[in-house]
Symmetry: C2
Subunit: 342 residues, 2 copies
DNA sequence: GAACAAAATGTAAGCGGTTACGTTTAGCCA
DNA sequence: TGGCTAAACGTAACCGCTTACATTTTGTTC
């Protein structure tokens, strides 16, 4: 099989195409990037050559010469659960509509990994970046400034932060939800939170619960949230631990739906009925919230709208070379069966 | 603010670093790629310069010169549900351990989009690609061959296919599960499948059910699967439609856990008790399977092992320039409460 | 200290595109 | 047909890095 033949195996380059079509590389480039500049006749010849050779332009070379990649990078904390899935999907769809490609990395909630991913995506020529939440070293923002890469933050709203954001007010939302349950008669509140270090969403949701307690005449300091990673098993374990503490909460507020689903399992494990023995709330309103029994009372986050708007804004920042405009989306309470009035 | 000053805003290049450190660009490059080749003294000087300037090498340039990116691309059908999440997470972790970065795109189960993403990732210099399932145009494989990009397929096992794969035998697994329930006394089988076009997993699972029916003396032709997209709402609707047909199945086999979760909701909607009125099975054994009530009898797929092995194999293919070796992993039945013996 | 080998560093040619600028061709009008 | 302008196309520099090869420095031995 080792016949001596010219190396037809190497990927064709623009030179190959130019030779095949009998034109210069500049013309080939024009056919690809700005076809109107080329005669119909030549254009067709070049396109035939491209077709025949199965040529695809090399992005790296293109990027080096043109400084644009039409790529957006997104770094999310996790792909393991669905929290970011729907928003990201909407984000991608909108980008696709506008001619951009999305590249996704996940950081496993580790800031070191996130930083690595950011540098990676930037070095790879991402025209812009979507990040989740505001909590990260100033050094990273400085780096991104130096590299002139526009950044948009989602899932949080905080105008005092370094980057523009499309999100919602985690603190106010959690406060609203908490006040709602307090008004339903709950006084003994407990909380299972995500790990709040380097996670402003988790931190602000805890603060929101305390705000509500203060506003409703309860002692905010009495809240002693358990912090665990966002997954079902940890939520379950946290619930069991909470009960083992001896305090009998009438309601357990969870940092998100995943933890709440875990908490429900925990209650089941302890033969406690939800909501008769204990009420439980979630946050996010992902599909899971309607899958568990009882269905979760939770805070609905407009994931799809957030993703779509983020895409629009980020592309705007890139193409018009302007600063991003932050937007505060509205999250709303969804009342379902996991909470009962006392 | 428009002072006339040298443009300190441009991202620093290797030339800047070289000048700052008083060495040649070659030396800077060596410090980065092969530090042992450089004296400790110079090395430190260069590193200080890198630090001072906040320099990050440009991947595109690097790739052009060196033909390597240490990047792996993965294209999954969807990020919306958790089917691929765990496997992909394990894949990424293993890659990270070996010094590679993972870039993920999702195709929304559309082959045109998938093709676009493949070309994109390749043009971007991915050293290798992970794809899900075997069903795609031969033209794509030809393209990948021409570009010399190693490809590994996961989630399917089929040695007759064009690409090496790390997966499991969807057909045999589904056959095993089906035979199991037939042996529990079920005779009136129905199925809710994912859309089987361009999806070998879905197709093979249907075939597996028929295999089992044939083997157990039932008529395979009597199975008339409903095909719907993999999400809860569609699973629910499919279940309702199935019952509306008038045939009263004793068990509904679902193409995956997501559809099964939907089917349970459908049963609830029709006031049917699972498993007393109808049994339901899933496939995949994702977290969801233990969240729904009743918990799902399903086929456990070794997601993490699959992801990890896929990473090992793909890196091996890249670094040793060899063909990939396929592996058939074992999926196993998990019996839970959603199926009852008749 | 000379001679030589080995280690450290520098020089410069690409990698595969884009694009400013120069040259050729085509189109139009007198 | 000649002359002028605009359109089409070609030439070549450049993007930021790696690396083969050339050169310089360092270390060793006698």
């Amino acid at each position: 099989m080792e016949k001596a033949m010219p190396d037809t195996t190497a990927a064709p380059t623009i030179d190959d195409v130019a030779r095949e079509a009998g034109v210069s590389t500049a013309t080939v480039s024009r056919v690809i990037n700005d076809p109107d500049l080329v005669t119909v006749k030549t254009r067709e010849r070049v396109q035939a050559a491209i077709e025949a050779l199965g040529y695809t332009p090399n992005f790296a070379a293109r990027f080096m010469a043109a400084k644009r990649t039409f790529t957006i990078g997104a770094i999310i904390p996790t792909m393991e659960n669905a929290i970011f899935a729907r928003g990201l999907q909407a984000f991608q769809e909108e980008l696709h509509r506008r001619g951009y490609t999305l590249l996704v990395s996940s950081s496993a909630y580790k800031s070191k990994v996130e930083e690595e991913q950011i540098r990676n995506l930037v070095a790879r020529g991402a025209d812009g970046l979507l990040l989740i939440g505001h909590d990260r070293d100033q050094a990273i923002y400085d780096y991104l400034d130096r590299q002139h890469v526009p950044v948009l933050v989602a899932w949080s709203y905080d105008t005092t932060a370094h980057a523009p954001c499309i999100g919602f007010d985690n603190r106010a939302a959690m406060q609203a939800l908490t006040e709602d349950v307090i008004k339903m008669g709950h006084r003994r509140l407990a909380m299972i939170s995500g790990v709040s270090e380097q996670n402003d969403r988790a931190r602000l949701r805890i603060a929101g619960v305390r705000d509500a307690m203060a506003a409703q005449g309860l002692d905010p300091a009495s809240l002693d949230p358990i912090e665990v990673p966002y997954n079902i098993a940890d939520g379950q374990a946290a619930f069991v631990e909470l009960i083992a503490r001896g305090t009998k909460p009438s309601i357990v507020l969870c940092g998100n739906d995943v933890l709440a689903a875990g908490a429900i399992r925990g209650a089941e494990q302890l033969n406690m009925n939800v909501p008769d023995d204990v009420s439980i709330t979630g946050f996010d309103d992902i599909e899971l919230a309607q899958v568990v029994r009882p269905e979760l009372t939770t805070m609905h986050v407009p994931h799809r709208a957030m993703g779509q708007m983020a895409a629009q804004e980020l592309v705007g920042m890139i193409e018009e070379k302007r600063k991003g405009v932050s937007q505060n989306l509205k999250a709303s309470i969804v009342r379902r069966a996991s909470v009962r009035a006392l």
